[in-house]
Subunit: 259 residues, 2 copies
Amino acid sequence: MLLEPTIASAYEFLAARLKGGQPPAGVLAIAGRCRVEYQGRSATKTDAGDRFVLVKPDGSVLLHGPRSVKPINWQPPGAKFDVALQNEQLLLFARRAKPVEIIEMRFEKLSLCWLGEMDAGAGLQMSGSEFDLRDLLRSRPELLEVGFKPWERERITDQGPMDLYGEDAQGRRVVIEVKRVAAGLAESTQLWRYVEAERRRRGLDVRGILVAPRISPRALQMLQEHGLEFLERRWDDSASRAAREKSGPKQGSLALFGE
Amino acid sequence: MLLEPTIASAYEFLAARLKGGQPPAGVLAIAGRCRVEYQGRSATKTDAGDRFVLVKPDGSVLLHGPRSVKPINWQPPGAKFDVALQNEQLLLFARRAKPVEIIEMRFEKLSLCWLGEMDAGAGLQMSGSEFDLRDLLRSRPELLEVGFKPWERERITDQGPMDLYGEDAQGRRVVIEVKRVAAGLAESTQLWRYVEAERRRRGLDVRGILVAPRISPRALQMLQEHGLEFLERRWDDSASRAAREKSGPKQGSLALFGE
DNA sequence: CCCTGAATGTCGCAG
DNA sequence: CTGCGACGTTCAGGG
């Protein structure tokens, strides 16, 4: 670890830890004043500013400014590295092969240069995903509509995978799109795409239902224009968490809000 | 700055810098072994693992593991903070009001606790955005098709904003959707939505063209099924950069590849 | 505020 | 490897 290092000492530090272009063995943290240039899928350039850089052992790079969650520049896993001294500046390159992308950082001043070992840690247990919702609705279809019989979850069609597919009490085909969060135009359109293909194949008597906690006005209008339906369902995540506590991480489940 | 601090000394350090729940004055970097729980739009929980945490002066939080660009957990700008000692562990809370979201980090061991001042730095100059492409195509419509006359850029309709709108050599209306990267089903569907609304308003004689460097097979099929067109155009970013060097950051421009 | 769509999106999964 | 869609998407722009 180096605190307020000179350019030269930081160079020594990094050169020893990025041998042969390989990523560091642990997580590398560098804070300092630098200019950055990125060339790749897009291209950016910044004048000198204070940045905080993380380089991970999988070869990902994050260059952060003092605001926002998103890095100013970054590199996905797999990058290779070069370190150099030039014009009394420390140069750090990160390159990626496919697509070809480079980040070039020129540090004129450094305030931190740190390397720490980091184990992978235990896996992330998440609840409340759309996958959990599909599971819930498939196992308890009455939560959607009395008499609905789901045939498949994630029916793969030429038009893409439908979230739920089945038959209503009157024997009509039903295509269902489930959203965890508020639905917008994109989700309405997605349902429309599935239903249109199904109507072409099976005839006009195919229903399409978008199930979500909320829908935007324009998205609702679009559904109505195409004879599709919106079903408001709010999810209660707490039941899911309770269930997971008891039965382990794989046992995802949810309940409807207020059930 | 604290290196390998005790839990108690790290608590002192953080409590003094997160007064009244406010974010730190600079960027705070904490490395250590911790458990994390998140409750909000979703819910996650991790067992103990080595993490690297950044807390920014705008109240954003990033909790990184040793892999990938995306944080394991995070908080967007605006979070408020609490620090506490409990069971010989350091607790760091970050809360957000709307939507209500909390992250709770319980450190059992710390290896770094650092605060650094960071200025905002100079603005980011970016080239190669979709906005630049629209500019190029509007100013040089012959790159799309001989005789095409663009009327508007970003025509706002009830169905949303169209990238380009105009008239072809035969006087037919043309709706154009421009993509910087490969187009998929979502982009085809988006164009379909615009064109369908326009056909409803103006009659069937409306063309829709998706302009992109590449398109997926299914997306192309979907276009054809709805009488829409795909136009392959690859962008050359280098011309843009050259132009920007000369005329400053606001002067975004692009050229077609190989032009 | 909400709504909408871009993004160097990233990530994971399935074919 | 590509295609496809979810994501606690984040973010900026407009009404």
